[in-house]
C-alpha cells in the first residue's frame, strides 16, 4: 500500500463511456491480480472521496492501467484527466485471486467487472491452467469498452454474450456458463467472477450446484479503501460466523471472497 501522486500518461476512451487510464508511478509498484487502488484527481476538490478502480493491466514496473466506466461524479472527474495531470493514489489494495497449481479454471466477466479479471486470466495462462472465459456485456459497444479484444488476444476460448444480442449470444453470461458447468464433471473447478451483483449471485448458485468453487470480487461504495470507515460492507451468510462477523469489509477483508460466505439477499453494491 503506497500513498503517492501518480502522473497520467494516457486516459483513452476506446468507446464512449469507457476509459483506460494509464498512470505512471515514481516508484516501483508491485501488483497482484485482482487488486485495486483508490484514485482522486489532485486538482479537483470535488468529489471528496477517492474512487476504487480495479487494476486492469501492468504496463511495466512503474506503470499500470485502470479500465473504468464513466458513471457518476467521481468517474466523470477521472474521465476529464489529461496526460500530465496528477492523481492521488492509494494502492495497491485488497487481496488477490488465488491461482491453482494445475487443472482447469473458468473466468466470468460481467460488464466492467472485466477490469478485475484480465490480470487473473493472464496469471492463469502463465501457470499453465486450462482457462475458459465467459464475457458478458450490455451490447457490442459495451463489450468493446470492457476490453473484449484484450481477452480474445489471450488465445483462450472466450464465450461472448450481450443483453441485446448485438454481439455473441443474446442473454446473460450465466446462460452459457450454466450449460458449460452442466456438461462436464466440475467438482472443485475454480470459477472466478466479477460483475453486477445479480450476475455474481447467479454464478455462485450454478457453480455450487455443479460442485465448482466460486470466488467473487465484490464492489461497494468505499469511503477510504483501507478499513477504517467500515462503509463498504457486505452481509455474511446467517449460518456463517455471527456477532461481529455479520458484516465484512470489501476493501481490507477482500475484495475477493469465496461466494459461499456472501449473503446474496443483501445487495452491497447498491449505490
Amino acid at each position: 500500500m503506497i500513498e503517492t501522486l501518480a502522473t497520467v500518461i494516457e486516459n483513452a476512451e476506446p468507446v464512449r463511456g469507457y476509459r483506460l487510464l494509464t498512470l505512471d508511478y515514481r516508484d516501483d509498484i508491485s501488483v497482484a491480480p485482482g487488486q485495486f487502488a483508490m484514485l482522486r484527481s489532485h486538482s479537483s476538490p470535488e468529489p471528496l472521496l477517492r474512487r476504487a478502480l480495479a487494476i486492469y493491466r501492468v504496463e511495466n514496473h512503474k506503470r499500470v492501467a485502470f479500465l473504468y466506466q464513466v458513471l457518476g461524479r467521481g468517474t466523470q472527474v477521472l474521465g476529464a484527466l489529461h496526460p500530465g495531470d496528477r492523481v492521488e493514489s492509494l494502492g495497491p489494495l485488497g487481496n488477490s485471486w488465488p491461482v491453482p497449481e494445475s487443472g482447469r479454471a473458468v473466468v466470468v466477466a460481467g460488464g466492467i467487472g472485466s477490469a478485475s479479471v484480465l490480470m487473473l486470466a493472464q496469471a492463469l495462462l502463465r501457470a499453465g491452467i486450462d482457462t475458459r472465459v465467459f464475457f458478458g456485456a450490455a451490447n457490442r459497444d459495451a463489450a468493446i469498452g470492457c476490453g473484449l479484444a484484450d481477452f480474445e488476444a489471450l488465445g483462450v476460448p472466450v464465450t461472448l454474450t450481450t443483453d441485446d444480442g448485438s454481439a455473441g449470444e443474446k442473454g446473460f453470461v450465466t446462460l452459457p456458463l450454466e450449460r458449460y458447468l452442466k456438461s462436464a464433471s466440475n467438482a472443485g473447478l475454480p470459477v472466478y467472477a466479477c460483475g453486477p451483483w445479480p450476475m455474481m449471485a447467479r454464478t455462485a448458485e450454478i457453480s455450487d450446484r455443479a460442485g465448482a468453487r466460486c470466488l467473487v470480487s465484490l464492489e461497494a461504495p468505499m469511503g477510504c479503501g483501507f478499513g477504517v470507515c467500515v462503509g463498504c460492507v457486505f452481509a455474511v451468510k446467517a449460518d456463517g460466523p455471527s456477532g461481529y462477523g455479520s458484516y465484512k469489509r470489501v476493501c481490507v477483508d477482500g475484495s475477493i471472497f469465496p461466494a459461499s460466505v456472501v449473503d446474496w439477499q443483501v445487495n452491497a453494491m447498491a449505490h
Binding site: 468529489p47 471528496l48 470507515c229 467500515v230 456477532g243 452491497a268
Partner: protein, 315 residues
Amino acid sequence: MTESPHTEALEVDIAGVRFRNPVIGASGTFGYGLEFAELIDLNRLGGFCTKGLSARPLAGNPPPRIVETHGGMLNAIGLQNVGARSFVEDKLPLIRRYDTRIIANVFGYSDDDYLEAIRMLNDGEGISLYELNISCPNVKEGGIVIGNDERAAARLTEKAKRASTRPLIVKLSPNVADIASIARAIVQAGADALSLINTIVGMAVDINTRKPRLNYGTGGLSGPAIRPIAVRMVYEVAAAVTVPLLGIGGIADTSDALEFLIAGATAVQIGTANYYDPGVTMKVIDGLESYCRERSIDRITSLVGSLVVSGDRAG
C-alpha cells in the same frame, strides 16, 4: 525523528493530560489507530479516538452505509466494533507500541451499557481519556437519544464520571436547539472536557427507486460542508463553559484547524478528511508548526479563544 525547535509550541493540556500537539484523529474515522501505521507516523500524532466501543461487539447496520454528498458524506455505520473487552485484549497491546495519546470512545444502548464498557476499559493500560459518545445518530437507542436530552445527558455524564478511572470527554450532538445549554449541564455533571460536533442528521434519496440511499434511512453528515456550523457551535460553547473543547467538523487543512482554535477549541479532531487524504493529520501538524514559527507564537494555546469580535453580533 527530529524535534523541531517549535515542537513544544504545539503542546496542549486536556484535563491534565499532555498532548504533544492538538491534532487528534476523530472517532469512527481512525479505526483502532493501527490501520494508519503504514500511512503516517503515529508517533508524531497528538492522539486519536478509537471507533466507538461498546460492552459487547456490535455488527452495525446493513449496507449501504455511506453515500457521498457535495462537500461531504452521509454515514450510517451503526457502531460496528469489536467490543471493549476485545479492544483491551487484542488491539490495545499493539497500539501501546506507538507514542500517541489513546482516547477510548465509549458507546452504549443504555446507561448501564455505557458503565459496563467503561469498567472493561478501566482495565486497559495505555488509555489516556474516555470520550463519551452520546451523539451517534445512527442507532435507535443510546447515542443521540441521550445526547439530545439535557437531563439524560447530565445523568449519564455523572454516572460515567463516577465509574471512570480516567478524565472524561463528552462528545456533543449538533442536532439540538441550544448546544450551549446542554454543554453547561454536562459540565456541571462532571465532564472534564467536551468534543464537538458529532455528525448532523441528514438524508439522501435515490430518485429512481424513491428509497433513501442509506439502508438505515437517515445518516450523519460529515466533511467540509459542516465546518461553519461546527465552528459556530464551538464558539457558542466556549462562551458557556470553562473546560477544554476539542473542535470537530470538516477539518481538512491547517487553516480549518486554526479556525477552531481561534473560535475556542484547545485541540481539534480530524475525521472524514482521513478517508480521502490519509496523511492529513501530519500535514496539519506541519502547518501549525509553520504558522507558529512564522508568527513567533511561542504557545499555540495563546490562540485558543482569541477570536476578535467587533461590532454588534446581532442581525
